[in-house]
């Protein structure tokens, strides 16, 4: 590192090895915020410019990807500041968690218990994430897609953990609502539910089978059925 703080030759090599290695992740994160590839390109370039200039502040051995995400998020917010409206995003995480209970119950009762095991749901999930308001989208992308903890996501966004949690839970509930609507439109109800509906029409209530996939974020199939 030179006295001016600008990376010197050795530091340049480290920057190339450590920071540029994450360009796909930064690009994906930028795309999730902008929903526009050209805008994402500009944001990623600006991110790397800022990262390069402040490389001397990066702590060797710390999480370079998270550091780049933080810069990327700041670049995005600055670019967007001109058009940004202050959104009221005050949400109650507890309320969102319980509201999701109703969504899930409705989904199961409607014959959509296998909804998330469907291999053809991917495009609908991507569209639903892209349609989320940006603050909820960033929380969902960071925690659910990129696998950051609440604490890490909060640090990247520069907000308290409680805020991330509220935004995340609201984002998840909105996603579930959107995917359930998609499932209804696409006629994804299971054969079990079709039978149950038939039985219900004859006066018998039949419970639907419950088969869901395993393997959620940070969850290994080798864990017991109750492990998260």
């Amino acid at each position: 590192m030179s006295d001016s703080g600008i990376p010197d030759g050795t530091s340049d090599e480290r920057f190339t090895q450590e920071a540029l290695a994450w360009v796909d992740d930064v690009y994906r994160f930028a795309c999730s915020m902008t929903r526009d590839e050209a805008d994402a390109d500009d944001i990623v370039q600006e991110t790397y410019l800022r990262a390069y200039r402040s490389w001397h502040t990066f702590q060797p051995g710390s999480d370079c990807r998270r550091w780049l995400f933080t810069i990327c998020r700041n670049v995005f917010l600055r670019v967007r500041e001109r058009e940004r409206r202050k959104m009221d995003v005050a949400t109650d995480a507890e309320f969102e968690a319980l509201a999701a209970l109703h969504t899930a119950t409705r989904a199961r009762q409607g014959g959509y218990e296998d909804l998330f095991a469907r291999l053809d749901l991917g495009p609908a999930i991507e569209q639903a994430i892209a349609a989320l308001p940006v603050v909820f989208r960033m929380a969902v992308v960071l925690v659910d897609v990129e696998g950051q903890s609440y604490e890490e996501a909060a640090a990247i966004q520069g907000v308290p953990i409680g805020t991330i949690r509220s935004r995340l839970f609201r984002g998840r509930r909105l996603l579930q609502e959107a995917l359930l609507m998609h499932a209804c439109d696409a006629g994804f109800a299971t054969a079990a539910e079709v039978r149950a509906r038939s039985d219900r029409s004859g006066g018998t209530l039949m419970s639907a089978n419950l088969h869901t996939q395993t393997g959620a974020k940070r969850h290994s199939n080798s864990h017991s059925a109750l492990d998260p």
Binding site: I6, F116, I125, Y150
Partner: protein, 80 residues
């Protein structure tokens, strides 16, 4: 023993592994015996799994990589 409402209130925190070990254990115990809550847990776990697997394969284009490298060279030589 916690009740259903408390378990469901913290279900996402549980699935995210964001609770203390004591709370994690309390919810695990509840789910093991509660037939009402287990399907909810199963559904939410599948939901998070689907979201995680939706991670797209978007990659930075070759043009963008070249732009960044050119910019870094330019800035590096100008500020050195």
């Amino acid at each position: 023993m916690i009740d259903c409402e408390e378990a469901m209130r913290q279900l996402w925190d549980y699935l995210d592994d964001e609770l203390t070990e004591q709370k994690m254990a309390a919810i695990r115990e509840h789910l093991a015996v509660c037939q009402q809550c287990y399907p909810q847990f199963d559904f939410e776990r599948a939901f998070l799994g689907a979201i995680a697997s939706a991670r797209c394969n978007q990659r930075a284009s070759g043009a963008l990589r070249m732009r960044i490298r050119a910019m870094l060279r330019e800035v590096g030589s100008a500020e050195a």
